[in-house]
Amino acid sequence: MYEGVVQDLIDELGRLPGVGPKSAQRIAFHILQADPTDVRRLAHALTEVKEKVRFCAVCGNVAQSEQCRVCQDPRRDLAVICVVEEPKDVVAIERTREFRGRYHVLGGAISPIEGVGPDDLRIRELLARLADGTVTELILATDPNLEGEATATYLARMVKPMGLKVTRLASGLPVGGDLEYADEVTLGRAFEGRRLLDV
Protein backbone atom coordinates (compact mmCIF):
# COMPACT_ATOMS: atom_id res chain seq x y z
CA MET A 1 0.00 0.00 0.00
CA TYR A 2 1.25 3.43 -0.94
CA GLU A 3 0.31 6.63 0.80
CA GLY A 4 -2.56 8.97 -0.07
CA VAL A 5 -2.82 10.22 -3.65
CA VAL A 6 -0.42 7.66 -5.12
CA GLN A 7 -2.62 4.81 -3.88
CA ASP A 8 -5.74 6.69 -5.04
CA LEU A 9 -4.25 6.94 -8.55
CA ILE A 10 -3.34 3.22 -8.55
CA ASP A 11 -6.89 2.33 -7.41
CA GLU A 12 -8.50 4.48 -10.11
CA LEU A 13 -6.23 3.10 -12.86
CA GLY A 14 -6.94 -0.42 -11.63
CA ARG A 15 -10.65 0.10 -12.36
CA LEU A 16 -9.97 0.47 -16.10
CA PRO A 17 -10.72 -2.58 -18.30
CA GLY A 18 -7.73 -4.91 -18.74
CA VAL A 19 -5.62 -3.07 -16.15
CA GLY A 20 -4.65 -5.25 -13.19
CA PRO A 21 -3.05 -4.08 -9.91
CA LYS A 22 0.53 -4.49 -11.20
CA SER A 23 -0.18 -2.65 -14.47
CA ALA A 24 -1.97 0.10 -12.50
CA GLN A 25 1.12 0.50 -10.31
CA ARG A 26 3.41 0.65 -13.37
CA ILE A 27 1.24 3.30 -15.10
CA ALA A 28 1.00 5.33 -11.88
CA PHE A 29 4.80 5.47 -11.50
CA HIS A 30 5.16 6.33 -15.19
CA ILE A 31 2.81 9.27 -14.61
CA LEU A 32 4.79 10.31 -11.50
CA GLN A 33 8.03 10.39 -13.47
CA ALA A 34 6.55 11.98 -16.62
CA ASP A 35 6.89 15.60 -17.66
CA PRO A 36 4.17 17.75 -15.95
CA THR A 37 3.04 19.10 -19.36
CA ASP A 38 2.37 15.58 -20.64
CA VAL A 39 0.38 14.73 -17.52
CA ARG A 40 -1.67 17.92 -17.80
CA ARG A 41 -2.41 17.09 -21.46
CA LEU A 42 -3.62 13.61 -20.43
CA ALA A 43 -5.81 15.03 -17.64
CA HIS A 44 -7.21 17.64 -20.04
CA ALA A 45 -8.02 14.96 -22.66
CA LEU A 46 -9.83 12.87 -20.02
CA THR A 47 -12.02 15.72 -18.82
CA GLU A 48 -12.64 17.01 -22.37
CA VAL A 49 -13.84 13.62 -23.60
CA LYS A 50 -16.46 13.42 -20.85
CA GLU A 51 -17.59 17.01 -21.28
CA LYS A 52 -17.69 17.31 -25.06
CA VAL A 53 -18.43 13.86 -26.46
CA ARG A 54 -22.04 12.78 -26.71
CA PHE A 55 -24.06 10.41 -28.87
CA CYS A 56 -25.39 11.56 -32.25
CA ALA A 57 -29.12 12.30 -32.08
CA VAL A 58 -29.65 10.64 -35.48
CA CYS A 59 -27.46 7.55 -35.62
CA GLY A 60 -26.15 7.02 -32.07
CA ASN A 61 -22.48 7.32 -33.08
CA VAL A 62 -20.09 9.31 -30.87
CA ALA A 63 -20.22 13.02 -31.75
CA GLN A 64 -18.98 16.38 -30.53
CA SER A 65 -22.20 18.20 -31.42
CA GLU A 66 -25.89 17.33 -31.84
CA GLN A 67 -25.06 15.23 -34.92
CA CYS A 68 -21.95 13.23 -35.80
CA ARG A 69 -19.58 14.07 -38.68
CA VAL A 70 -21.16 11.45 -40.99
CA CYS A 71 -24.76 12.61 -40.40
CA GLN A 72 -23.75 16.25 -41.01
CA ASP A 73 -21.99 15.44 -44.31
CA PRO A 74 -24.33 16.48 -47.22
CA ARG A 75 -22.40 14.27 -49.70
CA ARG A 76 -23.56 11.11 -47.92
CA ASP A 77 -26.22 8.94 -49.59
CA LEU A 78 -29.43 9.29 -47.58
CA ALA A 79 -31.00 6.23 -49.22
CA VAL A 80 -28.66 3.70 -47.60
CA ILE A 81 -28.25 2.96 -43.88
CA CYS A 82 -25.63 0.58 -42.52
CA VAL A 83 -26.58 -0.90 -39.13
CA VAL A 84 -23.67 -1.64 -36.78
CA GLU A 85 -23.40 -2.71 -33.13
CA GLU A 86 -20.85 -0.20 -31.76
CA PRO A 87 -19.31 3.17 -32.72
CA LYS A 88 -15.95 1.42 -33.29
CA ASP A 89 -17.60 -0.57 -36.11
CA VAL A 90 -18.32 2.76 -37.86
CA VAL A 91 -14.59 3.56 -37.74
CA ALA A 92 -13.74 0.10 -39.16
CA ILE A 93 -16.14 0.54 -42.10
CA GLU A 94 -15.05 4.15 -42.71
CA ARG A 95 -11.45 2.91 -43.06
CA THR A 96 -12.50 0.86 -46.12
CA ARG A 97 -13.67 4.04 -47.99
CA GLU A 98 -16.20 1.80 -49.76
CA PHE A 99 -19.41 2.94 -48.09
CA ARG A 100 -20.96 6.32 -48.82
CA GLY A 101 -24.27 5.99 -46.97
CA ARG A 102 -25.10 6.73 -43.35
CA TYR A 103 -24.99 4.59 -40.21
CA HIS A 104 -27.18 3.47 -37.36
CA VAL A 105 -25.47 2.33 -34.15
CA LEU A 106 -27.60 -0.16 -32.18
CA GLY A 107 -25.49 -0.06 -29.01
CA GLY A 108 -24.97 -3.83 -28.81
CA ALA A 109 -26.56 -7.08 -29.97
CA ILE A 110 -29.48 -9.19 -28.75
CA SER A 111 -28.15 -11.55 -26.10
CA PRO A 112 -30.88 -13.01 -23.85
CA ILE A 113 -28.32 -14.87 -21.72
CA GLU A 114 -26.76 -11.49 -20.82
CA GLY A 115 -30.20 -9.96 -20.30
CA VAL A 116 -30.04 -7.80 -23.47
CA GLY A 117 -33.23 -7.87 -25.53
CA PRO A 118 -34.52 -5.89 -28.56
CA ASP A 119 -35.95 -3.19 -26.29
CA ASP A 120 -32.48 -2.47 -24.87
CA LEU A 121 -31.09 -1.56 -28.32
CA ARG A 122 -31.77 1.47 -30.55
CA ILE A 123 -34.17 -0.49 -32.76
CA ARG A 124 -37.14 1.81 -32.16
CA GLU A 125 -35.02 4.77 -33.35
CA LEU A 126 -34.02 2.81 -36.48
CA LEU A 127 -37.64 2.06 -37.35
CA ALA A 128 -38.46 5.76 -36.89
CA ARG A 129 -35.67 6.68 -39.35
CA LEU A 130 -37.03 4.22 -41.91
CA ALA A 131 -40.63 5.40 -41.60
CA ASP A 132 -40.37 8.48 -43.90
CA GLY A 133 -39.52 6.40 -46.99
CA THR A 134 -36.17 8.12 -47.83
CA VAL A 135 -34.18 4.97 -47.12
CA THR A 136 -34.30 2.26 -49.79
CA GLU A 137 -31.56 -0.10 -48.58
CA LEU A 138 -30.63 -1.34 -45.13
CA ILE A 139 -27.22 -3.01 -44.77
CA LEU A 140 -26.99 -5.23 -41.68
CA ALA A 141 -23.35 -5.11 -40.53
CA THR A 142 -23.70 -6.63 -37.07
CA ASP A 143 -20.82 -8.83 -35.91
CA PRO A 144 -20.53 -12.21 -37.69
CA ASN A 145 -21.08 -14.12 -34.45
CA LEU A 146 -24.19 -15.75 -33.02
CA GLU A 147 -25.57 -12.64 -31.28
CA GLY A 148 -24.89 -10.51 -34.37
CA GLU A 149 -26.63 -13.03 -36.65
CA ALA A 150 -29.64 -13.24 -34.32
CA THR A 151 -29.88 -9.44 -34.24
CA ALA A 152 -29.69 -9.29 -38.06
CA THR A 153 -32.42 -11.97 -38.36
CA TYR A 154 -34.63 -10.05 -35.94
CA LEU A 155 -34.11 -6.71 -37.76
CA ALA A 156 -34.71 -8.26 -41.18
CA ARG A 157 -38.05 -9.61 -39.97
CA MET A 158 -39.03 -6.30 -38.38
CA VAL A 159 -38.37 -4.20 -41.51
CA LYS A 160 -39.67 -6.76 -44.03
CA PRO A 161 -43.20 -5.24 -44.14
CA MET A 162 -41.66 -1.85 -45.12
CA GLY A 163 -40.57 -3.25 -48.49
CA LEU A 164 -36.92 -2.18 -48.14
CA LYS A 165 -33.96 -3.90 -49.73
CA VAL A 166 -32.27 -5.59 -46.77
CA THR A 167 -28.72 -6.89 -47.24
CA ARG A 168 -26.21 -8.58 -44.93
CA LEU A 169 -22.43 -8.19 -45.17
CA ALA A 170 -20.83 -11.20 -46.86
CA SER A 171 -19.06 -13.72 -44.66
CA GLY A 172 -16.68 -16.49 -45.60
CA LEU A 173 -12.97 -17.12 -45.99
CA PRO A 174 -10.51 -14.48 -44.74
CA VAL A 175 -8.14 -13.22 -47.45
CA GLY A 176 -4.64 -14.63 -47.00
CA GLY A 177 -5.63 -17.78 -45.09
CA ASP A 178 -5.45 -21.51 -45.90
CA LEU A 179 -8.64 -23.31 -46.92
CA GLU A 180 -7.83 -26.43 -44.87
CA TYR A 181 -8.04 -24.46 -41.62
CA ALA A 182 -11.50 -23.03 -42.33
CA ASP A 183 -14.24 -24.37 -40.06
CA GLU A 184 -17.43 -25.94 -41.46
CA VAL A 185 -19.68 -22.95 -40.74
CA THR A 186 -17.34 -20.41 -42.37
CA LEU A 187 -16.66 -22.65 -45.37
CA GLY A 188 -20.41 -23.30 -45.73
CA ARG A 189 -21.04 -19.54 -45.77
CA ALA A 190 -18.30 -19.09 -48.37
CA PHE A 191 -20.06 -21.64 -50.60
CA GLU A 192 -23.42 -19.94 -50.09
CA GLY A 193 -21.94 -16.57 -51.01
CA ARG A 194 -19.76 -17.72 -53.95
CA ARG A 195 -19.72 -15.39 -56.96
CA LEU A 196 -19.35 -15.71 -60.70
CA LEU A 197 -15.84 -15.07 -62.00
CA ASP A 198 -16.27 -12.78 -64.97
CA VAL A 199 -13.07 -13.27 -66.98
Binding site: I113, E114, P118, P144, N145, L146, T153, D183, V185
Partner: protein, 258 residues
Protein backbone atom coordinates in the same frame (compact mmCIF):
# COMPACT_ATOMS: atom_id res chain seq x y z
CA UNK B 1 0.99 -29.83 -17.54
CA UNK B 2 -1.70 -32.15 -18.87
CA UNK B 3 -3.74 -32.38 -22.05
CA UNK B 4 -7.43 -33.29 -21.79
CA UNK B 5 -9.85 -34.11 -24.57
CA UNK B 6 -13.64 -34.12 -24.30
CA UNK B 7 -16.86 -33.57 -26.27
CA UNK B 8 -18.86 -30.53 -25.24
CA UNK B 9 -21.50 -27.95 -26.04
CA UNK B 10 -20.51 -24.28 -25.93
CA UNK B 11 -22.83 -22.65 -23.37
CA UNK B 12 -21.49 -19.12 -23.18
CA UNK B 13 -18.63 -16.91 -24.32
CA UNK B 14 -17.15 -13.89 -22.55
CA UNK B 15 -14.68 -11.42 -24.00
CA UNK B 16 -11.21 -11.51 -22.47
CA UNK B 17 -8.48 -8.98 -23.23
CA UNK B 18 -7.97 -7.81 -26.79
CA UNK B 19 -8.77 -10.89 -28.88
CA UNK B 20 -9.44 -13.79 -26.46
CA UNK B 21 -12.58 -15.28 -25.00
CA UNK B 22 -13.45 -17.39 -21.97
CA UNK B 23 -15.58 -20.26 -23.28
CA UNK B 24 -17.95 -22.14 -20.98
CA UNK B 25 -18.53 -25.75 -22.11
CA UNK B 26 -20.81 -28.47 -20.83
CA UNK B 27 -18.67 -31.53 -21.48
CA UNK B 28 -19.53 -35.23 -21.46
CA UNK B 29 -16.95 -36.39 -18.90
CA UNK B 30 -15.89 -33.26 -16.99
CA UNK B 31 -19.23 -31.46 -16.61
CA UNK B 32 -19.04 -27.69 -16.84
CA UNK B 33 -15.60 -26.42 -17.86
CA UNK B 34 -14.38 -22.88 -18.51
CA UNK B 35 -11.36 -22.44 -20.75
CA UNK B 36 -9.52 -19.62 -22.47
CA UNK B 37 -9.50 -19.57 -26.29
CA UNK B 38 -6.59 -17.36 -27.34
CA UNK B 39 -7.08 -15.13 -30.38
CA UNK B 40 -10.58 -16.49 -31.11
CA UNK B 41 -11.95 -13.03 -31.91
CA UNK B 42 -9.44 -12.43 -34.71
CA UNK B 43 -10.85 -12.99 -38.22
CA UNK B 44 -7.99 -15.38 -39.02
CA UNK B 45 -8.35 -17.40 -35.81
CA UNK B 46 -7.84 -21.16 -36.22
CA UNK B 47 -11.03 -21.71 -34.19
CA UNK B 48 -13.21 -19.85 -36.71
CA UNK B 49 -16.90 -20.20 -35.81
CA UNK B 50 -16.39 -23.45 -33.90
CA UNK B 51 -16.53 -21.83 -30.47
CA UNK B 52 -19.85 -20.03 -30.83
CA UNK B 53 -22.73 -20.89 -28.43
CA UNK B 54 -24.78 -23.98 -29.50
CA UNK B 55 -21.69 -25.58 -31.12
CA UNK B 56 -21.12 -29.25 -30.35
CA UNK B 57 -17.37 -29.79 -30.46
CA UNK B 58 -14.55 -32.20 -29.74
CA UNK B 59 -12.06 -30.03 -27.84
CA UNK B 60 -8.56 -30.39 -26.45
CA UNK B 61 -7.61 -28.51 -23.29
CA UNK B 62 -4.23 -27.78 -21.79
CA UNK B 63 -4.27 -27.52 -17.98
CA UNK B 64 -1.44 -26.60 -15.63
CA UNK B 65 -2.05 -29.24 -12.95
CA UNK B 66 -3.07 -32.88 -13.23
CA UNK B 67 -6.76 -31.89 -13.32
CA UNK B 68 -8.76 -29.88 -15.82
CA UNK B 69 -10.47 -27.74 -13.16
CA UNK B 70 -8.76 -26.21 -10.15
CA UNK B 71 -5.48 -24.46 -10.98
CA UNK B 72 -6.47 -21.47 -13.08
CA UNK B 73 -8.33 -21.57 -16.35
CA UNK B 74 -7.16 -24.21 -18.84
CA UNK B 75 -6.35 -23.24 -22.42
CA UNK B 76 -8.48 -24.52 -25.27
CA UNK B 77 -5.85 -25.61 -27.80
CA UNK B 78 -7.70 -27.51 -30.55
CA UNK B 79 -11.34 -27.80 -31.58
CA UNK B 80 -13.15 -29.95 -34.14
CA UNK B 81 -16.85 -29.51 -34.94
CA UNK B 82 -19.24 -32.38 -34.26
CA UNK B 83 -22.40 -30.40 -35.08
CA UNK B 84 -23.00 -26.68 -35.53
CA UNK B 85 -26.56 -26.36 -34.16
CA UNK B 86 -26.23 -22.56 -34.13
CA UNK B 87 -26.81 -22.23 -37.89
CA UNK B 88 -30.23 -23.94 -37.60
CA UNK B 89 -31.19 -21.98 -34.49
CA UNK B 90 -30.08 -18.43 -35.24
CA UNK B 91 -32.17 -18.12 -38.42
CA UNK B 92 -35.37 -18.08 -36.33
CA UNK B 93 -35.74 -15.63 -33.44
CA UNK B 94 -38.11 -17.87 -31.44
CA UNK B 95 -35.64 -20.76 -31.72
CA UNK B 96 -32.76 -18.49 -30.73
CA UNK B 97 -34.44 -17.23 -27.56
CA UNK B 98 -35.61 -20.75 -26.61
CA UNK B 99 -32.08 -22.08 -27.28
CA UNK B 100 -30.39 -19.47 -25.09
CA UNK B 101 -32.81 -20.33 -22.26
CA UNK B 102 -31.77 -23.99 -22.68
CA UNK B 103 -28.08 -23.07 -22.47
CA UNK B 104 -28.66 -20.92 -19.38
CA UNK B 105 -30.65 -23.72 -17.71
CA UNK B 106 -27.89 -26.24 -18.38
CA UNK B 107 -25.34 -23.81 -16.92
CA UNK B 108 -27.44 -23.18 -13.81
CA UNK B 109 -27.99 -26.90 -13.17
CA UNK B 110 -24.24 -27.60 -13.37
CA UNK B 111 -23.08 -25.28 -10.61
CA UNK B 112 -19.81 -27.05 -9.82
CA UNK B 113 -17.11 -27.00 -12.48
CA UNK B 114 -15.51 -30.35 -13.22
CA UNK B 115 -18.39 -32.37 -11.77
CA UNK B 116 -19.70 -34.83 -14.41
CA UNK B 117 -23.33 -34.26 -15.51
CA UNK B 118 -23.74 -36.81 -18.31
CA UNK B 119 -27.55 -36.87 -18.27
CA UNK B 120 -27.75 -33.08 -18.44
CA UNK B 121 -25.20 -33.10 -21.27
CA UNK B 122 -27.09 -35.72 -23.30
CA UNK B 123 -30.36 -33.89 -22.67
CA UNK B 124 -28.86 -30.63 -23.97
CA UNK B 125 -27.43 -32.29 -27.09
CA UNK B 126 -30.82 -33.89 -27.85
CA UNK B 127 -32.69 -30.67 -27.09
CA UNK B 128 -30.51 -28.52 -29.35
CA UNK B 129 -30.71 -31.08 -32.16
CA UNK B 130 -34.53 -31.05 -31.96
CA UNK B 131 -34.64 -27.27 -31.75
CA UNK B 132 -32.33 -26.79 -34.75
CA UNK B 133 -34.35 -29.26 -36.85
CA UNK B 134 -37.47 -27.09 -36.48
CA UNK B 135 -39.64 -30.21 -36.10
CA UNK B 136 -41.59 -28.80 -33.14
CA UNK B 137 -42.67 -25.44 -31.72
CA UNK B 138 -39.55 -23.92 -30.04
CA UNK B 139 -41.53 -23.10 -26.88
CA UNK B 140 -42.62 -26.77 -26.55
CA UNK B 141 -39.02 -27.95 -27.07
CA UNK B 142 -37.89 -25.53 -24.36
CA UNK B 143 -40.60 -26.63 -21.90
CA UNK B 144 -39.77 -30.30 -22.53
CA UNK B 145 -36.09 -29.54 -21.91
CA UNK B 146 -36.82 -27.61 -18.72
CA UNK B 147 -39.07 -30.36 -17.32
CA UNK B 148 -36.55 -33.09 -18.12
CA UNK B 149 -33.67 -31.02 -16.72
CA UNK B 150 -35.64 -30.69 -13.50
CA UNK B 151 -36.25 -34.46 -13.57
CA UNK B 152 -32.59 -35.46 -14.08
CA UNK B 153 -31.61 -33.12 -11.25
CA UNK B 154 -34.08 -34.75 -8.86
CA UNK B 155 -37.01 -32.32 -9.10
CA UNK B 156 -39.34 -34.28 -11.41
CA UNK B 157 -42.87 -32.84 -11.06
CA UNK B 158 -45.86 -35.18 -10.84
CA UNK B 159 -48.70 -34.58 -13.30
CA UNK B 160 -50.80 -37.66 -12.48
CA UNK B 161 -50.60 -39.05 -8.94
CA UNK B 162 -50.83 -36.71 -5.94
CA UNK B 163 -47.31 -35.45 -5.14
CA UNK B 164 -48.02 -35.68 -1.40
CA UNK B 165 -50.07 -38.82 -0.70
CA UNK B 166 -49.67 -40.67 -4.01
CA UNK B 167 -53.42 -40.84 -4.77
CA UNK B 168 -53.66 -41.98 -8.42
CA UNK B 169 -54.68 -39.30 -10.93
CA UNK B 170 -56.12 -37.36 -12.46
CA UNK B 171 -55.72 -34.67 -9.78
CA UNK B 172 -56.83 -31.10 -10.43
CA UNK B 173 -54.71 -28.90 -8.19
CA UNK B 174 -51.12 -27.94 -8.96
CA UNK B 175 -48.80 -26.78 -6.20
CA UNK B 176 -45.26 -25.70 -7.07
CA UNK B 177 -44.09 -26.11 -3.47
CA UNK B 178 -45.59 -29.61 -3.18
CA UNK B 179 -43.86 -30.85 -6.34
CA UNK B 180 -46.76 -31.24 -8.79
CA UNK B 181 -50.46 -32.04 -8.77
CA UNK B 182 -52.13 -32.66 -5.41
CA UNK B 183 -55.49 -34.17 -4.47
CA UNK B 184 -58.32 -32.20 -2.82
CA UNK B 185 -57.26 -33.40 0.66
CA UNK B 186 -53.57 -32.45 0.21
CA UNK B 187 -54.34 -29.13 -1.47
CA UNK B 188 -52.34 -26.26 0.04
CA UNK B 189 -52.99 -22.50 -0.10
CA UNK B 190 -51.61 -21.05 -3.33
CA UNK B 191 -52.43 -24.13 -5.43
CA UNK B 192 -53.67 -23.38 -8.93
CA UNK B 193 -56.24 -25.25 -11.01
CA UNK B 194 -54.85 -25.59 -14.54
CA UNK B 195 -56.95 -27.09 -17.33
CA UNK B 196 -56.81 -30.87 -17.77
CA UNK B 197 -55.38 -30.33 -21.28
CA UNK B 198 -52.48 -28.27 -19.91
CA UNK B 199 -51.62 -30.97 -17.38
CA UNK B 200 -51.86 -33.60 -20.12
CA UNK B 201 -49.48 -31.49 -22.26
CA UNK B 202 -46.93 -31.16 -19.45
CA UNK B 203 -47.05 -34.91 -18.82
CA UNK B 204 -46.53 -35.51 -22.55
CA UNK B 205 -43.54 -33.13 -22.64
CA UNK B 206 -41.96 -34.83 -19.64
CA UNK B 207 -42.31 -38.30 -21.18
CA UNK B 208 -41.55 -37.30 -24.78
CA UNK B 209 -45.04 -37.92 -26.23
CA UNK B 210 -44.66 -35.42 -29.10
CA UNK B 211 -47.84 -36.50 -30.87
CA UNK B 212 -49.93 -35.24 -27.93
CA UNK B 213 -47.72 -32.18 -27.40
CA UNK B 214 -47.85 -31.04 -31.05
CA UNK B 215 -51.64 -31.35 -31.09
CA UNK B 216 -52.16 -28.99 -28.13
CA UNK B 217 -53.85 -25.61 -28.47
CA UNK B 218 -51.96 -22.31 -28.03
CA UNK B 219 -53.81 -21.37 -24.79
CA UNK B 220 -52.90 -24.70 -23.18
CA UNK B 221 -49.24 -24.47 -24.18
CA UNK B 222 -49.17 -20.91 -22.81
CA UNK B 223 -50.66 -22.05 -19.49
CA UNK B 224 -48.24 -24.99 -19.38
CA UNK B 225 -45.26 -22.70 -20.02
CA UNK B 226 -46.29 -20.51 -17.09
CA UNK B 227 -46.42 -23.55 -14.79
CA UNK B 228 -43.02 -24.78 -15.98
CA UNK B 229 -41.44 -21.32 -15.49
CA UNK B 230 -42.87 -21.03 -11.95
CA UNK B 231 -41.74 -24.57 -11.07
CA UNK B 232 -38.24 -23.94 -12.44
CA UNK B 233 -37.89 -20.63 -10.62
CA UNK B 234 -38.94 -22.27 -7.34
CA UNK B 235 -36.19 -24.87 -7.61
CA UNK B 236 -33.48 -22.60 -9.04
CA UNK B 237 -34.38 -19.99 -6.40
CA UNK B 238 -34.11 -17.20 -8.99
CA UNK B 239 -35.47 -16.89 -12.51
CA UNK B 240 -33.61 -17.38 -15.76
CA UNK B 241 -32.53 -14.12 -17.40
CA UNK B 242 -33.31 -15.38 -20.89
CA UNK B 243 -36.79 -16.76 -20.12
CA UNK B 244 -38.52 -13.37 -20.29
CA UNK B 245 -37.24 -12.91 -23.84
CA UNK B 246 -38.80 -16.25 -24.86
CA UNK B 247 -42.16 -15.01 -23.65
CA UNK B 248 -41.64 -11.78 -25.59
CA UNK B 249 -40.73 -13.75 -28.71
CA UNK B 250 -43.95 -15.77 -28.49
CA UNK B 251 -45.95 -12.57 -28.00
CA UNK B 252 -44.29 -10.97 -31.03
CA UNK B 253 -45.05 -14.06 -33.16
CA UNK B 254 -48.72 -13.81 -32.14
CA UNK B 255 -48.79 -10.05 -32.85
CA UNK B 256 -47.21 -10.62 -36.26
CA UNK B 257 -50.02 -13.12 -36.96
CA UNK B 258 -47.64 -16.04 -37.48
Amino acid sequence: MTLFRDDGIVLRTQKLGEADRIITFLTRRQGRVRAVARGVRRTKSKFGARLEPFSHVDAQFFARGGELVGRGLPLCTQVESIAAYGSGIVTDYARYTAGTAMLETAERFTDHEGEPAVQQYLLLVGGLRTLASGAHDPRLVLDAFLLRSLAVNGYAPSFEACAKCGLPGPNRFFSVASGGVVCAQCRVPGSVVPSAESLELLGALLTGDWETADACEERHSREGSGIVAAYLQWHLERGLRSLRFVENAVRREVEAGK
